[in-house]
């Protein structure tokens, strides 16, 4: 039998292989997104959101209504926090932001504010603060290198309360996880 040279049929077969691969990868991408963006409804004290599914989720305590951590991220697990803080009627979001940053400064190691500004995020006015801190396990038996964590807080005003939504993630993963956070932020209702 002859050694068949590249025929028309071969050409088609070749294209079909590429096509099938592209379809499979596209399906894989959608499947990946569906897992990563899968959410569970969360609701507490008049605030509702679609929290990421499969994350470690803390029960509400005090003014922290939601604290959820991605245990599948390396280093400092990506964490979303939603807090509801009582404020004065005429307080501005920048005042609350400064209060929040002071709390961070007290609680976090090597806290540094990177920048802050008024923004409109998903149609809402908010005050955004970006910061960085170092997370190291306080347990002295642990000898790991501390991780550098980037954080972003959005302060929304809602009547006599401020809603502070935080996103903190390991420096390495911050950009990768930011889209997921905005999906969460978009789902936020109060």
């Amino acid at each position: 039998m002859a050694n068949k040279q590249a025929s028309l049929g071969d050409r088609f077969a070749e294209i079909t292989v590429i096509l099938v691969t592209v379809i499979a990868l596209a399906a894989g991408w959608f499947y990946k997104s569906s897992i990563e963006n899968a959410s569970l409804p969360f609701s507490a004290e008049g605030i509702s959101a679609e929290a990421p599914k499969g994350w470690l989720q803390a029960e509400p305590s005090g003014d922290v209504l939601l604290r959820t951590t991605d245990i599948n991220s390396s280093g400092f697990g990506a964490t979303y926090t939603v807090r509801k803080i009582a404020i004065a009627g005429d307080a501005t979001s920048s005042e609350i932001a400064s209060r929040v940053s002071l709390e961070h400064a007290q609680n976090l190691i090597a806290f540094r504010m990177l920048d802050q500004r008024e923004v409109t995020v998903h149609g809402r006015d908010a005050f955004e603060i970006n910061y960085v801190f170092v997370e190291s396990n306080p347990d002295l038996t642990h000898t790991e290198i501390p991780s550098v964590v980037l954080g972003t807080d959005y302060v929304f005003l809602s009547g006599d309360h401020a809603i502070v939504v935080s996103f903190q993630a390991d420096e390495k993963n911050y950009d990768l996880d930011l889209n997921r956070f905005h999906l969460f932020l978009q789902s936020l209702n109060f």
Partner: protein, 286 residues
């Protein structure tokens, strides 16, 4: 090409495949025992270098057998080595970045059984199998050196081992050196699996070239290889999962090698049977 050329099976191909499987398992055993007995002390750099060296061993074994036994019927050695290199290159340049950085499988793949299987087939399986197919299809496939159906298996295995070698080097380097005893098992598993699934693609490629197959023939081959790939990874996860009791956890890493060896033998056996049947039917129809 000569009309008179007889289509025949290159018998040594199967010997090589089976020798690869057996000698890999033996080699792993030797390294494992030696590592345990001598407990060599390495500096981080020598550990890394030794790891990388071990990563090259599976491919080296196969290539050695291939070259030793191919004297009677010299296959152009340069082409086999070239396809091996191409498979390695595609793995390093496209395969690993796509799977790990673009799809970020470590972040979601091991979520649950469903994601292990689906992600393993759609993302990992298709990426790997397509690239190994491409290493053959866009290099040697249209040349005269691909002149028998069995050549598909040979070249695809070379591409698969190239891919596996890069996966293993990446495994060693990204872990900053590995424990040799445990690491060699994992490397042998990857080499066996990649070679076995490439064999499937190779069989389909061989038939695609020498027979007028339907348009779905080659896509079917890639898909089959990808499915095997994904299911194999899922099974690996199951058989190697340790059992925990308070007195300790079992280490089931060896089970992974057993699984890989069995899968590789079965795959090789089935392909062998298919190729033989195919050749017989071709000869009968001549």
């Amino acid at each position: 090409m000569s009309e008179a050329k007889v289509i025949h099976e290159r018998k040594h191909v199967w010997r090589d495949e089976i020798l690869l499987i057996v000698s890999l398992v033996v080699f792993v055993g030797i390294v494992y025992v030696l590592d345990g007995a001598i407990q060599p002390v390495f500096t981080p750099n020598t550990l890394l270098l030794t790891g990388v060296f071990l990563a090259l061993v599976p491919a080296a074994i196969w290539l050695t057998f291939f070259y030793l036994q191919d004297r009677a019927e010299p296959e152009p050695k340069g082409f086999v080595l070239g396809v091996f290199g191409l498979g390695a290159l595609l793995a390093a340049a496209i395969g690993i970045p796509v799977v790990e950085n673009l799809f970020r499988v470590s972040h979601w793949l091991r979520n649950d059984t469903m994601s292990v299987i689906l992600g393993g087939i759609l993302v990992v399986g298709f990426t790997q199998e397509f690239l190994k197919y491409a290493a053959v299809r866009y290099s040697i496939y249209n040349s005269g050196e691909f002149d028998e159906p069995t050549d598909g298996v040979i070249y695809a295995t070379a591409a698969g081992l190239g891919y596996a070698t890069v996966l293993n080097i990446n495994f060693v380097v990204s872990n900053g050196g590995v424990d040799l005893g445990a690491g060699i098992i994992r490397m042998a598993v990857v080499a066996l699996a990649q070679a076995a699934f490439s064999g499937i693609t190779g069989y389909f490629l061989g038939r695609a070239k020498f027979e007028s197959e339907q348009i779905w023939w080659m896509p079917l081959g890639i898909t089959l290889a990808a499915v095997f790939n994904g299911v194999f990874n899922w099974l690996q996860g199951i058989v190697t999962r340790p059992t925990i009791t308070l007195s300790g956890a079992t280490t089931n890493t060896w089970m992974g090698l057993v699984l890989a060896a069995v899968v590789a033998l079965l795959t090789t056996g089935i392909i062998l049977w298919l190729v033989r049947r195919n050749i017989r039917s071709l000869e009968a129809g001549k």
